[in-house]
Amino acid sequence: MIDEIRKAVAERLNELDGVVALRRWSQGVAPHLFQKGDDLSELEIAPKYPLATLVSKLHKRYPTIKLGIVARGCDERAFIEMAKRNQIDPDRLYIIGFACTAEDAQACYCTEPFPKNLIVGTPPAPGPVNPLVAKYDAMPLVERRAFWKQQFNKCLKCYGCRNICPECFCEACAMEDMAWVEPGLLAPPFPTFHMIRAMHMASRCVACRECEHACPAHIPLTVLYDLMRRDIGDLLGYVPGADIKAQPPLSLSLKQSPLRQGAAH
């Protein structure tokens, strides 16, 4: 599969200013901007990185360049949400999509482990829904609280979840706003700190799981975000990353995006 991707990138490099993908270095793999003439044998597809973030940086820094991207399903979903919020220019982006492996889908609990612009590979069986979601959802309040208190107590307040997140592109972050989060507390104030992020993720999270991978405290953050994703789907019929034309519903009036029947408060 990787050879097919390299071939597709080589073809595209003739007409694009560069292609964002992963590159193998002597001691590791990192995101890279491949340009014409680069050695494509160094192009890799794993481990996954949030490449949409890099596209956004490049689009902002070089306002006319056209880029290609070797993208997974979650990458594509990420820049659909980013494009809605003016962080990348979809007209300057060509997606070389490839399908994740079945193991990837399993590990990421990914229900859509391939992009819409699938160029290479065949869609694998979707991964299972994160079993922790159902587990914590079924817990009584007291147990949930105990669980999350224990988890959030481990938090180093490193902001890694935010830093790695392709959808956390804000210049200023509410999690650093002294109005909402008192500074100097470690672990950060329960449960405000993590709730702010969960709230913001409701209409943005594309379930790439990068936050959880980046968390040095191994907090199962995506359980919370998966619940929020489920709720915004139930309440407003919105699936982040699904449709570039669907506007973020929390910004719209009831007329433009009504509450789903029976979902009202």
Binding site: F169, C170, D177
Partner: protein, 588 residues
């Protein structure tokens, strides 16, 4: 148009060329009897009553004035012996045909015909076959229902085959033009505009007695012209037009249409008034079950000199009432209807009582809960009405019953006596509540007005800002805001007008400083805030949000939407909210 001069009964008279002798005579107040003449119809010369003596070049001749043109130099005699003799003969013949018609009897008397010269075939005949009805139906109404049929002595006027026809639109024009009252129209349903269900008016009317400007309107549902237009899908577009023909200043224009006029204004005064509460909602008052149970509003119309009875207070059958009950608080101060006091009823009920006493001398029973005579001179009027002999019964009228003989029985508790009382009366006046207009919600949504619990528009502050609303530049006047009587409404409206003028006079608008502001360094340009703004005050400028402070009303919804805290609600900043949160919690 050139003028001509002729002599009528020895007097030189000027006339326009083309006028008939009859028209000239009418204009100069010279009386000529007519039966078949109508100014809106072509003259026909059927009845011959307008016969006059016309002398031209020395030759005298008898002609019908309605058809003979007024030529220059003519001499006309309208009352010469020859004329009178001729008319006597004509009246004799008409009387022989229609001996019982009053108009003809009067003419016979005038011209000295004591008995009909011939015996009538049908003594009840009323039609003189003048054909006015035929002409109005065909030429004006264009319904083409009536015409002559048969010949000679068998000649009759009527619809085809003298049968009921759907072509008749029931306009009644024939009955109006018929000089002898020979046509009776039996309406199968009300075809004419009904004013406050107390009697018909015409299809062209002044919308209300206090209308400003005082210009009549045409009720297109009742107007013959518009009805014919509708019925024939526009094929007959020139029916009737009598009003246009008769209006001397040419004010009638059938081509006018309802227009939507868009105006840019600096202020709006909402003065949409009130609606009358429907007393049918409380069945115990039997409203609608007898024509003699009427609302205060209907009584007002009844006693109006321009009303259906020319101001006489009469029962439905035309008799004068002998006993009248007036019941206060119908639908007001009632947990089953409106809880509020409608404020105007006590005073108009007293006035109605006074009018009944004054005009009919009938005995009046006034059922009241308590008398709210709060205005200047009101209490004095109350005393005067009491002195006029009105029976005051303190206690809500509880029930009105229609008795088999058509009389009405009013029951209620007299709280002063502490027992149930009842009165049999001829007429009941229900002083119904006033309530918010049924479309107040739409007007409210249009102007962003909220409504108080009673349904009327809410003022900005019940004590300090009774004229303003929470929408800048929108003011309230009168009953749109709550029940009030005329002097209060005038005062309220005056206040609204001066507030609106004051606003516009300044030439500039003071806006609230509670607007939202973007901190550019914090904004990432995601645009989540843009669709949030109901005033489209937010735009993306150079990739970042920018707020037009003149458009922003300061709701702060964008502030709460912004994930970066890049928008600040001035005077409601996050820091201020937090300080308040901590403040209120510290206080406890």
């Amino acid at each position: 148009m050139s003028m001509v001069t002729l002599t009528i009964d020895g007097q030189k008279v000027e006339a326009q060329e083309g006028q008939t002798i009859l028209e000239v005579c009418r204009k100069n107040s010279i009386d000529i009897p007519t039966l078949c003449y109508h100014p809106a119809l072509e003259p026909y010369g059927a009845c011959r009553m307008c016969t006059v003596e016309v002398i031209r070049h020395g030759w005298s001749n008898l002609h019908t004035a309605c058809t003979h043109p007024a030529w220059d130099g003519l001499e006309v005699k309208t009352n010469s012996p020859v004329v009178r003799e001729a008319r006597k003969t004509i009246v004799g013949l008409l009387l022989s045909r229609c001996p019982k018609v009053p108009v003809i009897q009067e003419l016979a008397l005038e011209y000295g015909v004591k008995e009909p010269p011939f015996a009538a075939d049908n003594p009840d005949e009323k039609c003189i076959l003048c054909g006015q009805c035929v002409r109005v139906c065909n030429d004006m109404v264009k319904a083409h229902v009536l015409n002559f049929s048969q010949r000679g002595v068998d000649r009759v006027v009527g619809p085809p085959f003298m049968e009921k026809t759907r072509q008749c639109i029931g306009c009644g024009a024939c009955t109006i033009v018929c000089p002898t009252g020979a046509i009776e129209i039996v309406l199968e349903k009300s075809a004419v505009y009904a004013e406050k269900p107390l009697g018909p008016t015409s299809a062209i009317y002044v919308p209300s007695l206090q209308a400003v400007p005082r210009v009549p309107v045409i009720d297109t549902d009742s107007c013959i012209r518009f009805r014919q237009q509708d019925r024939t899908n526009g094929e007959i577009a020139d029916a009737c037009g009598a009003c246009q023909m008769l209006c001397e200043v040419g004010a009638i224009d059938f081509t006018q249409k309802d227009e939507i006029i868009e105006l840019d204004v600096g202020a709006v005064i909402v003065a949409t008034g009130f609606a009358m509460w429907d007393p049918k909602k409380l069945s115990q008052y039997s409203y609608g079950k007898s024509p003699n149970i009427i609302t205060g509003d209907q009584f007002e119309r009844l006693s109006n000199a321009g009303g259906p009875t020319s101001g006489q207070i009469l029962l439905a059958d035309g008799r004068k009432p002998e006993k009248v009950a007036i019941i206060h608080c119908i639908g007001s101060r009632d947990h089953n209807a409106h809880e509020y006091c409608s404020r105007i009823c006590c005073m108009y009920a007293l006035k109605h009582a006074h009018l009944v006493r004054d005009k009919t001398g009938a005995e009046v029973f006034e059922f009241y809960m308590d008398m709210r005579t709060f205005g200047k001179g009101y209490e004095e009027f109350y005393e005067r009405v009491q002195e006029e002999g009105v029976n005051m019964i303190r206690g809500r009228g509880a029930e009105v019953e229609v008795l088999p003989d058509g009389k009405l029985r009013v029951k209620g508790e007299d709280a002063n006596l502490g027992r149930i009382v009842s009165a049999n009366v001829d007429m009941v006046v229900l002083c119904t509540a006033i309530e918010a207009q049924p479309d107040a919600d739409k007007i409210g949504a249009l102007f962003g007005l909220s409504r108080s619990q009673d349904g009327f528009f809410a003022e900005a502050h019940p004590k300090l800002r009774p004229v303003e609303t929470n929408t800048d530049g929108v003011f309230l006047a009168g009953c749109a805001q709550g029940p009030r009587d005329v002097p209060d409404t005038v005062a309220h409206a005056g206040a609204a007008a001066s507030m609106a003028l004051a606003l516009m006079d300044k030439g500039e608008v003071v806006i609230s400083p509670t607007t939202a502001k973007v901190t550019r360094e914090k904004c990432v340009g995601c645009g989540d805030c843009i669709p949030v703004c109901p005033y489209t005050a937010i735009a993306r400028v150079d990739g970042k949000a920018e707020i037009n402070a003149a458009l922003c009303k300061g709701c702060g919804t964008c502030v709460a939407t912004c994930p970066s805290g890049a928008i600040e609600a001035l005077h409601f900043t996050d820091e201020q909210l937090v300080a308040q949160i901590e403040g209120v919690l510290a206080w406890v």
